[in-house]
Symmetry: C2
Subunit: 152 residues, 2 copies
DNA sequence: CAAAGTAGTCAAGCTAGTTGACCAAGTAGG
DNA sequence: CCTACTTGGTCAACTAGCTTGACTACTTTG
């Protein structure tokens, strides 16, 4: 690979790890989750009690799409909605026990692949790779909003 | 960021560089291309004269979707279709001058961001990052088909 | 030369988003 | 405290970009 191919490398690496996680997750009984759900879980695990609008902003989708995503996750038992304590328009979204179980499994599977990759290139190089990506993101986020929008 | 977050890091880094390229490309007059087209271009630039079926396999989409994608690109003047020399069912897809122009611009813009990133972490660390991603992909492709499927 | 395989087409349908109009509830300024 | 504006969520209609399945025309294989 040459210079100019970094986008393809990043995209394919992402797909490789994501496909591995997604496949093993299905084998563990979580057959009804998409990658996009994973990023919603990730957000909710850090900001429990977020609103649908906030989730949408984080994922880079409209609030309507975010609500629809939460509807699905609620129907499948991954999240719960509770009334907002002070704002009667709003509802807080929290992970259910099954939701927590799923995200823990995702993290474990991700770690497994990361460990495998660390074995390929060395622990320190993987650590530096992670650091470098964080550096890029920090730099990029000063000029643009970096989202996790689930589609191209 | 901690262990277990590598998928998110890869996804966000990909989006960051892709959004930069896509935005600047639009400013250069290429307003009618999506990232998925870029990966089609990339493939065609290496395998000029591929068929729609081959393109579909590479992108991880059905042949019908691939044909539709090529239809669009042809209508917009990025690719041309010529009859296959020996197989009368088939048509060869090649990049038009405008198609080449676009892909060269994409590579140039990608290089620009890569240079900027190299400035942030050092040339050698970016090189190692690239090498490491190639290593991961080589390893992953022994067990799974790593595609560039444009959606989740 | 018949049977199986392959490139592309046609048509219908689906998923995951979009835009736009709307309501009820909250917030800020005079 | 009103009035004006903003905000969280809903409803409904629409769209992009795929999918599946059935088919035709041509090619390859045994």
């Amino acid at each position: 690979m040459l210079q100019g191919d970094l986008p393809a490398l990043l995209a394919m690496s992402f797909r490789a790890i994501m496909d591995q996680i997604h496949g093993q997750l299905a084998a563990d009984g979580f057959t009804d989750v998409r990658p996009a759900h994973g990023f919603a879980f990730h957000f909710l695990s850090h900001r429990s009690g977020a609103t649908a609008v906030e989730l949408g902003e984080h994922l880079g989708i409209t609030k309507q799409a975010a609500v629809q995503l939460v509807d699905e996750l609620e129907k499948r038992g991954y999240v719960e909605r509770t009334p907002h304590p002070t704002d009667r328009r709003s509802r807080l979204i929290t992970l259910s026990p099954r939701g927590w179980q799923c995200i823990e499994q995702v993290v474990a599977l991700s770690r497994k692949t990361e460990d495998h990759w660390a074995g390929l290139v060395g622990e320190d190089r993987l650590t530096k790779l992670r650091e470098d990506l964080v550096t890029f993101l920090g730099d990029a986020s000063r000029e643009q909003t970096v989202t996790l929008r689930p589609v191209w």
